[in-house]
């Protein structure tokens, strides 16, 4: 129970931090925001790695697929966000 409350605490506080930080993102960067946040939600890769590294065959297969999906998000997300952000130029 204690560890659950600790996890919920982290969850709730992180949502508040998210609201405060993301509210300041201007509309002009909303597309890179969605792609960049998708790269970050590729964090599931941590779980996928552990799963794909176990001895169980079924778990390894599920883990492998999860690694594929999550790596697509991490690599694809950060790359495409970088491509977009590099295009935003100031007048001078």
């Amino acid at each position: 129970m204690e560890s659950f409350i600790a996890a919920v605490t982290v969850f709730v506080l992180a949502i508040f931090v998210g609201f405060e930080v993301i509210r300041k993102v201007p509309p002009t960067l909303h597309t890179p925001l969605t792609s960049g946040s998708n790269a970050i939600s590729g964090i599931t890769i941590l779980g996928a790695i552990v799963l794909a590294g176990t001895a169980d065959t079924l778990a390894t297969i599920l883990g492998f697929l999860a690694v594929v999906f999550a790596t697509f998000n991490v690599v694809g997300g950060f790359t495409v966000t970088h491509r977009m952000l590099k295009m935003f130029k100031s007048r001078d």
Partner: protein, 460 residues
Amino acid sequence: MPPALVNLAYLIAAVCFILAFKGLAHPRTAVRGNLTGAFGMLLAIVVTLLDKHILSFTAIFAGMLVGGAIGALVATRVKMTSMPEMVALLNGFGGGASVLVAGGALVVPHAVSDAPPLQMAVATVTSGLIGAVTFFGSLVAFTKLADFRWAKDVRFKGQQVLNSVLFLLALLIATQVVRDPSALEWYWGLVAVAAVLGVLLVIPIGGANMPIVICLLNSYSGLAAAATGFVLNNNGLIIAGSLVGASGIILTQIMCKAMNQSMTDVVFGAAAVGGGASADEVYGGKVKSTSPDEVAMILDGARRVVIVPGYGLAVSQAQHAVRDLANLLESKGVDVEYGIHPVAGRMPGHMNVLLAEANIPYEQVKEMDEVNPSLPQTDVAIVIGANDVVNPVAREPGNPIAGMPILDVDKARTCVVIKRSLSPGFAGIPNPLFAADNTLMLFGDGKKALLDLVAAVKAQ
């Protein structure tokens, strides 16, 4: 590696993610922010590879190679106009990864998690439910955004009742999984029901509401990742997932406000389409068609021009032609600005990316609220492939877009609308702007019309 050190590394990664979002507060700091986020992810991955008792790296590296190669390939090749499709895919894969990890955790619970059994079980069904809705909903969204010929808006009687029944069924199966987590078939049954639900939730939603759907699915994919964090008792996942969840919720709220719709209307497909005056009543004999030469003449006397791009700009890849026109006008001393409606295009900020791609400085690109006060003092407003977001009917009650904030291009001295035809926008209603006294219609493909216009202005 001692667990404390691992958790410290996850904390650093989480700080990097927060800094990544913080960097997005300004285009100047955004690139560095994104790189910081990528560094945080790399750190978290390396620590996980070193720490956990991994028996075989084969499947891990094979998966990374496949996913990374496809990701890199798609991300470097995708056109800026197709960014909504790309984001839909990313949303979906995020949800899919959560479904798989939560499902795998049921197979080998002790190998992957030290969470209390009840927490793990409840989090697993949550992750499976949200993740599957996200994955399958996003695939449907993707087919619609990519304009596949067979992708249609499907509405039928009793759709909402069916959705409710499916949701209750999913909850019922979920309690079964919580009661006996070792019975894997119940989990995959839950995923199957959630898959149908995901398809049914997105399939009735039309193009106008796509920006809202993308934001909502974005939020879901984050929440699914956070739920997976509870499955694994991993703070890294919980923090990153909730940040993304919060981001999606904020964007959804902004989009709903920009369309004067409530989130429930969109989710449950209650958005009205059509109605009001007929096209003949609105347009009958009042629409004035113009030529590039005539527009060039009007632009010759202009001091201030505001360009309003819509989805049609993306379709005809006209962003570079727009830039050429703006540069030409600026060289003649005209003050040129762009006005962007929050839901222009098919996802938030899409127009800004397209204009940035054409090297248009971001200072010149204004939000709706910034540009509206200056439109009455604007000589020419040029609307390119936009419709509902400039429809003055929104100021009146009793129509599908009533109350939606619009760009007041009708208040400019002259309004030039570049459009293929008088066909209605997503809302399915005629636009009196096209028949207004101060409006001229330049019919044709956006890019071609702009190139003709550039030639006409040059010829003067």
